[in-house]
């Protein structure tokens, strides 16, 4: 059985742990298994690149951040557009055949899963694995990389808090998450943020300023966790492209800087903002993610051995299982504004940017 592995989209902690788990399971449990590493995500498959991976390639990568295979972003929208008489999807299907692959593991987020579904529809035996620090893949309780990112962000906010407390400032911490606010919500609660602003709950500028001015938590400083996809209540009805245009006009890509300025002007408190950026993706996976990645990789490889394709590994109720790609592709798992985590946050006095 010739098995391809690729990692696609933004990197995160745990990719190598999954690669290792798949590789070791296949080499130990599937007679005659040959593992082919495909470099640079779907980009490598489009070009038809691949290299054979031996058992020693999987040594010492369990705790390594990033991906040993390399990755790239290949927009889903471009996959079926014909370029020189052939689409990227067609090229990938052709190369899948030319490389003699019997199965392809695609490690990636929501976009990667959509492309994986296309490949599956066109006859490639695909098994997905849910990778993203955003935790927004539909049908799985948790994605790998998320927990490590929560720990990194929590630790960062902890450090920022000491500075903020010393200077009695209000600090906005911008956290990754364009559509989903899971990372901001979890890390915000874990780090004791005073206010959490996420895309699923458009915020009201007056409510935010009032919250800061009131010093509702009885402290002279405030830490506000802001997801990069946070939107003003007035912007909520805009299309994504319209919002992007408006932001571009203001010379911004996110709302954080503007929000910091307004809070400073209206409340008179010294307000700063910081963008954690790529810090959140990198580094070694935490123990939780190492275990999760190893289990996910093992189960995904077992699915290949059983000949079950067109699926993606998932965590449901603490159990590792699978979902059909067609059931989850194109869907997102977003924070429920009325869900238990948000409700709990409200109950302990954390502001959500609403009145």
């Amino acid at each position: 059985m010739k098995i391809g592995i690729l990692t696609s989209g933004g990197d995160c902690a745990g990719l190598n742990a999954v690669i290792r788990s798949i590789g070791l399971y296949c080499l130990h449990n599937i007679p005659g298994a040959e593992i082919v590493g495909i470099p640079d995500g779907y980009g490598g498959l489009i070009r038809g690149d691949g290299f054979r991976m031996q058992e020693n390639d999987f040594e010492d990568i369990l705790d390594r951040g990033g991906t040993v295979l390399g990755t790239s972003r290949q927009p889903f929208k471009r996959m079926t557009v014909e370029e020189n008489g052939e689409s990227r999807l067609e090229k990938m299907c052709d190369n899948y055949k030319k490389m003699g692959l019997d199965c392809l593991f695609t490690l990636g987020g929501a976009g990667t899963h959509k492309t994986a579904a296309l490949l599956s529809f066109e006859g490639c035996n695909v098994i997905g694995l849910p990778k993203t620090i955003d935790n927004d893949i539909y049908g799985t309780d948790v994605t790998f990389g998320f927990q490590t990112a929560v720990e990194v962000v929590t630790d960062s906010i902890d450090r920022i808090k000491t500075t903020v407390a010393s200077h009695r400032r209000t600090m906005l911490v911008e956290i990754m998450g364009n559509k989903a606010g899971w990372l901001t919500l979890h890390a915000g609660i874990a780090a004791g943020a005073d206010m959490i602003i996420i895309p699923e709950i458009p915020f009201d500028l007056d409510a935010v300023c009032e919250f800061v001015a009131d010093g509702r938590r009885g402290r002279q400083y405030n830490v506000i966790a802001v997801a990069e996809g946070a939107t003003l209540a007035e912007e909520a009805a805009y299309k994504k492209s319209e919002r992007a245009f408006a932001r571009q006009y203001m010379g911004e890509t996110t709302v954080t800087r503007h929000l910091a300025e307004v809070i400073g002007e209206r409340t008179g408190t010294e307000t700063r903002y910081t963008v954690l950026g790529y810090l959140q993706r990198g580094g070694t996976p935490c123990a939780f993610d190492r275990l999760l990645c190893s289990r996910l990789g093992g189960v995904a490889a077992r699915l290949a051995k059983e000949g079950r394709f067109g699926v993606t590994a998932a965590v449901v109720g603490g159990k590792i299982t699978f979902n059909a790609l067609s059931d989850i592709a194109g869907k997102y798992k977003l924070v429920d504004p009325d869900g238990p985590t948000v409700r709990f946050a409200k109950e302990i006095g954390i502001g959500l940017g609403t009145k």
Partner: protein
């Protein structure tokens, strides 16, 4: 009174909610969740994961119905579930976990439900209903004395399995072969040709998905008005689905759970339109659920339902006529009502008109339980227990 009918198909779990007063019954809500059961099969058995997915979806649906104040809910399933070999194990697990009892609907009852639900279209000129299912297809004339039903014992999944090679979507040659086969089955069933029907009413979720794809493809506004397709534009859509570079993207965007059946459905519809030379294509948003609800509320159909006030199921599950239970009934001296003939029964003359019940069917004070033996509570508990025990393991 608020009622619901939920339907398990091969690709989704869908539900309609209706409110009934003294004057009328009005559909007030519809929900649908994709559930690609095909990906959860182990051969001809629904896997443990598939059963889990079904149970989870049903539990969530039941909770939403309870929130909405629903009083009774009938759960029905058509050919897709009827064809799995561990059907009883699955329905026992569903009953144990949710209290819902599955009522099986056979092809001819499905066609009749479609007929009842779509009588509003009987004013259309020479109208025929077409319901394309995964494992069966029903074609039924509407109105006048041309009323007729033909049930085909093959469906879209069968076409997919028979004609599609390595790819999930058939290529041009495979689609052509599929078309030839469909035509030969229509010929064999002596399906009417031109001038008999001029309006084709497409019924069912797959046809609904075809329409979604059509609107996406033609950039048609879906906000208001009847769902009508232009035959020429539909032909272009079929061409795109057979050979277009972006066909998979189109399917993923509009009907990912229908990936195995969407092209076979397009091929069948195209063949039917050509055969009937029909120029009007309407996609109905009423189908088996609406028809079944109408029939059970009128007392013309039976089946078990979940009583939300009582917190449990009432009545006997509906079980369709099969060769096995037919023989058992014949042994016991019982006769069964017949609605229409199957397309495979070629030697018998075609019956026209609304299917009638046989006059000598035994009168019953309660709905008669047919087919499979009734499950005891103990066996349902055993099934639930086994699901609970197994759920500790990965996959």
């Amino acid at each position: 009174m608020k009622y619901a009918v939920a339907d398990i198909s091969s690709s989704s779990l869908s539900v309609i909610i209706a409110e009934k007063d003294d004057v009328k019954t009005e559909i007030t809500g519809k929900e649908r969740e994709s559930l690609s059961l095909l990906y959860y099969m182990d051969g001809d058995r629904l896997s443990r994961r598939g059963t889990e997915k079904l149970v989870t979806s049903l539990s969530q649906m039941k909770a939403r119905l309870a929130e909405l104040g629903t009083e009774k809910c009938w759960l029905i399933a058509t050919a897709a579930l009827r064809h799995i070999s561990n059907f009883e194990e699955v329905t026992d697990a569903v009953r144990a976990a949710t209290g819902l009892v599955v009522n099986l609907i056979d092809g001819e009852t499905e066609a009749y439900c479609d007929y009842v639900a779509n009588l509003c279209y009987s004013t259309c000129e020479k109208a025929v209903l077409v319901d394309l299912g995964g494992k069966s297809m029903e074609i039924c004339a509407l109105g006048g004395d041309k009323s007729d039903m033909t049930c085909f014992d093959f469906g879209l999944l069968d076409l997919y399995e028979k004609f599609t090679g390595r790819k999930i979507q058939p290529d041009e040659d495979e689609a052509r072969e599929m078309g030839r086969y469909v035509k030969s089955r229509f010929d064999k069933a002596d399906l009417p040709r031109r001038d008999v029907y001029s309006t084709v009413i497409l019924v069912g979720q797959t046809c609904g998905s075809i329409y979604d794809m059509y609107t996406e493809f033609t950039d048609t506004d879906t906000e208001e008005g009847a769902k009508i397709m232009d035959r020429k534009k539909f032909g272009k859509l079929v061409k795109r689905l057979v050979s277009g570079a972006d066909r998979s993207r189109l399917i993923l965007k509009t009907a990912p759970e229908k990936t195995h059946v969407i092209l076979p459905a397009a091929v069948v519809i195209k063949k039917l339109l050509k055969r009937f030379d029909a120029s009007n294509i309407i996609v109905s948003d009423r189908g088996v659920k609406e028809g079944y609800l109408s029939l059970v509320l009128d007392g013309r159909e039976n089946g078990a339902y979940y009583d939300f006030a009582a917190g449990g199921a009432k009545g006997d599950a509906r079980v369709p006529v099969t060769d096995g239970n037919k023989k058992a009934d014949e042994k016991a001296g019982k006769k069964r009502p017949s609605r229409t003939r199957s397309a495979s029964e070629q030697s018998e003359p075609r019956r026209r008109g609304r299917p009638k019940k046989t006059a000598d069917a035994p009168a019953q004070s309660e709905p008669r339980r047919r087919g499979r033996p009734k499950k005891t509570a103990a066996s349902a508990e055993t099934a639930a227990e086994s699901l609970r025990e197994e759920s500790g393991a990965d996959v």
